[in-house]
């Protein structure tokens, strides 16, 4: 059983489990599945700075912070108890492309050659982590949700603004991965 769990889980197991998060949160407390708003609650709780957008009763949203705390512990448990000892298997075309950028280590979930503490001092690492993170935080709030809030919860409820947002997420991703990221990594 444990051996089976340690293998990478196929999409048809993971996807439905993620989909079930939507009714699970609704049924146990009338909560809408969405993760990026946790970043807003952290701002509201720690640095409201008199900004109107952060003036709300974040304590009512504490459940969301428990939820993301759970995601942290889930990551911890999966890495400690259910880790797959094999390197991640990716498309050979991607392997060839990334090799050209000096990325050959597939032992972690992220390429440690470019995502590490010392690379933060270089332009490349700074762009990847600091600028990238900033875009994630700014963009999700501007869009009013992220992959969970729009692409999963919103689409599940057949909301067309969420479809627009999802298409834009994908468009931005395609532009970055195919046109801009190669320039950064080169």
């Amino acid at each position: 059983m444990i051996e089976w769990l340690k293998q990478p889980w196929p999409w048809y197991v993971a996807g439905p489990l993620i989909g079930l998060t939507v009714p699970a949160l609704l049924l146990i407390g009338n909560k809408k599945f969405g993760i990026s708003s946790s970043l807003r609650h952290i701002c509201a709780a720690c640095f409201p700075s008199g900004i109107h957008y952060f003036k709300y009763d974040w304590k009512k949203e504490t459940w969301n912070l428990f939820f993301v705390g759970g995601i942290f512990f889930g990551g911890l448990i999966a890495a400690q108890l259910l880790a797959n000892p094999q390197p991640i298997q990716v498309n050979p075309n991607l392997v060839t492309e990334l090799k050209g950028y000096g990325i050959t280590d597939y032992s972690q979930l992220i390429p440690t050659e470019i995502f590490n503490w010392s690379s933060l001092l270089q332009m490349k690492g700074w762009l990847l982590m600091v600028l990238g993170g900033f875009l994630v935080g700014f963009g999700t709030r501007y869009a009013g949700g992220c992959t969970s809030g729009h692409s999963i919860t919103g689409l599940s409820n057949l909301q067309w603004p969420s479809l627009v947002a999802t298409i834009c997420f994908m468009a931005g991703g395609f532009i970055m991965a195919n046109l801009i990221l190669p320039l950064i990594l080169r």
């Binding site: 942290f72 911890l76 890495a79 935080g137």
Partner: protein, 165 residues
């Protein structure tokens, strides 16, 4: 400066006075532990299905793998069936409250913000959920990405009245 943009935040409902859809019940804090448990299960799925992997995200945006499309697509199908059943049979929460769904209004933020988030998603290989899971797996440097994402959220709140919605 006092321009009032309606708060169209998809994920947050208990704002200002318009909290009509929010659970009205008040519970002690330990009731929140059930969300912690859902989060743990969710985090394990994130790691085991490699959804939080930078490599999988790169494959997705290069159309080199079906994996991520399968995950998101099947999640939406299961989510949509669940929402349909909850509406159809008027299923209530475990506390007996009715479950409401609100209609979302469109604003251009979903386009501009969506594109910006997409750019960030493909650089970092993570949307907000995976950031927390990556840190949990021991990738300490993701803390920097998370802090930066919090900073991005803060700056959005700060400039919100000056950008198109």
């Amino acid at each position: 400066m006092t321009k009032n943009i309606p708060d169209n935040d998809f994920e947050l409902r208990s704002l200002d006075a318009t909290c009509f859809n929010e659970s009205e019940l008040v519970h002690p804090y330990w009731y929140n532990l059930k969300y912690l448990i859902v989060g743990i299960v969710f985090g394990i799925v994130f790691v085991k299905a490699e959804i939080i992997s930078w490599f999988r995200i790169q494959e997705m945006f290069r159309l080199q793998s079906f994996h991520m499309y399968g995950v998101i697509g099947s999640a939406v199908v299961v989510g949509a069936i669940s929402v349909f059943l909850i509406k159809k049979f008027k299923i209530k929460t475990i506390y007996g409250e009715a479950i409401h769904f609100e209609e979302k209004t469109f604003n251009v933020g979903q386009i501009y913000g969506g594109l910006l988030f997409g750019l960030g998603w493909a650089i970092t290989g993570a949307c907000p959920g995976p950031l927390f899971a990556q840190i949990g797996t021991g990738i300490s440097v993701t803390i920097v990405t998370l802090i930066s994402a919090i900073a991005g959220t803060w700056v959005y709140g700060w400039v919100r009245n000056k950008i198109p919605h």
